[in-house]
Amino acid sequence: MTRILVIAEHDGQHVQQSTARCLNCAVQIEAAGADVVVFAAADSTAAVEASKLSGVKRVLLVAQKEKAGSLAAVLAPQIVALAADYDCILAPSTTFGRDLLPRVAALLGLAQVTDIMAVIGPRSFKRPIYAGNAIVTVEVPEGQQVIGTVRSASFKPVGNGAEAPIEPVSVSAALPTHTRFIELQSGSSDRPDLQSAKIVLSGGRGLGSADNFKQLYALADRMGAAVGASRAAVDAGFVPNEMQVGQTGKIIAPDFYLAFGISGAIQHLTGIKDAGTIVAINKDAEAPIFEVADIGLVGDLFEAIKEISEQLR
């Protein structure tokens, strides 16, 4: 049996969906499931949420002193202290996991498999290279612990179903003080999270201005959708960077992805190719986005936004 430890990602109170996706990968490696470690304040609800996810055998709750609990330099030595009991340590391949897990792997003297997109066997995995233009299968030799980050877009989140015990654990590790959390600046929004939304509406340079994006927000609110953007729209200052979809932004896999005025640069397409249905609306019939779109409409995007809004009434 493969003993797996999944490192939970949470925002202080809630477990991120990336954790549920990571668990799906864990269950494919070992059907019996995995332990999940939650580093959080003692009163956080994150551990309780994690304990309900299907495939969780046990939640290890390692109490953290402060909100600064997501700093890689602080978490890594604590994970290393837990590592000896496991054959495989997984974290989501989000900015959280990508920051943290290589630090853990190096402290353990191990190689890491980044962006696991498919499980071939308990020790062999597929991962994308060259911005997804090639897929490589790698194998971790027998006797080596598997350390991997899991590409969220490649795995559906597990649902609730377990009632795993929560075990408070104390680890003895010297924690550094050389890294300090100052603040998180986030454009807080009531809309669904880009990485977990079933429907995503996305705007490109064709939207023309920050003001015009409001039309997309209004349609998104009507549809219960999240809103994303191309790098061009972010660089033009129409929207904040956390809305960027693509290789250098967020890689997402919604059921429906509607791209308005996005031409479809390779780096953008890398971020959406696991979406269920891709819709492209663009006035340029030659735009590369149409090559990957399941449904394409050549036309004015503002007219389209208006009409979709009316016809969904």
């Binding site: 890594a76 290589p102 994308p128 290279i129 090639a134 299968t137 790698v138 219960g224 956390e242 779109a293």
Partner: protein, 250 residues
């Protein structure tokens, strides 16, 4: 600060679309245009800007790879790095091996800051900076979009999924750079001429004494499966019909 080390990887240029070898043994890179990994170029640009603020004396560009990496190091010197070190090897290192090798250079040079890209655009691993910081026992500030040098520390704004995270790390530290940190300068002809006089030190990988043994087995490469051919609709009514057929319930 006395020194910043910038780590540069030679990669297939980002404008080139690579192809997988027919036998699946790798990716065809022969004859392709090679460049400095774009994220590393941003790291170098940031180092140059820090020097222009008067906050550092010397910038050292370091690369690991074959002799051909000298081309990219020459570009770095033309951009403004003071000297360069090439760790020579004909074999491709994993991030851990690269980090262990870089640590040897860091121990020798004792920089206050190491800057490198958040990932290389060939293997897309996004590990080397974090691994170097871990092995060095120093802080890491990954995915940086703003870097403010203070007296004994540096304040870094990081591009994270939830927005922008600001952290403060004591020096020495490792910073990995994200796309929006800066726009690298163009190299001017006189700078290319001047760069020819700047020194590139070459060190055989073996001389560093770092453990660079490969730990993962690469079984095969393949081309990703293309998405099925889509349909074109003529108007929004048809679009919504097609979406409903596919289960859109909004």
């Amino acid at each position: 600060m006395h020194k910043i080390i910038v780590c540069l990887k030679r990669v297939v240029d980002y404008n080139v679309r690579i192809r997988v070898k027919p036998d699946g043994s790798g990716v065809i890179t022969e004859g392709l245009k090679m460049s400095i990994n774009p994220f590393d170029e941003i790291a170098l640009e940031e180092a140059l800007r820090i020097r222009e603020q008067g906050a550092v004396d010397e910038i050292i560009a370091v690369s690991i790879g074959p002799d051909d990496c000298q081309q990219q190091l020459r570009t770095a010197l033309a951009m403004g790095a003071d000297r360069a070190i090439l760790v020579q090897t004909g074999t491709e290192l994993e991030p851990l091996g690269a980090a262990r090798s870089l640590l040897k250079i860091v121990e020798r040079e004792q920089p206050e800051l190491v800057l490198l890209g958040k990932q290389a655009i060939d293997d897309d691993c996004s590990q080397t900076g974090q691994m170097l910081a871990a092995l060095w026992g120093r802080p890491q500030a990954t995915f940086a979009s703003k870097v403010e040098i203070r007296d004994q520390s540096v304040r870094v704004t990081r591009e994270v999924d939830a927005g922008l995270e600001v952290i403060e790390v004591d020096l020495p530290a490792v910073i990995t750079t994200d796309l929006r940190l800066n726009e690298p300068r163009y190299v001017k002809l006189p700078d290319i001429m001047k760069a020819k006089k700047k020194p590139i030190e070459t060190l055989p990988l073996e001389s560093l004494g770092a453990d660079t043994a490969v730990k993962l087995r690469t079984l095969r490469h393949e081309t990703p499966a293309p998405r099925g051919k889509g349909i074109m609709v003529k108007d929004v009514a048809e679009l919504i019909g097609a979406l409903r057929e596919r289960g859109l319930s909004a």
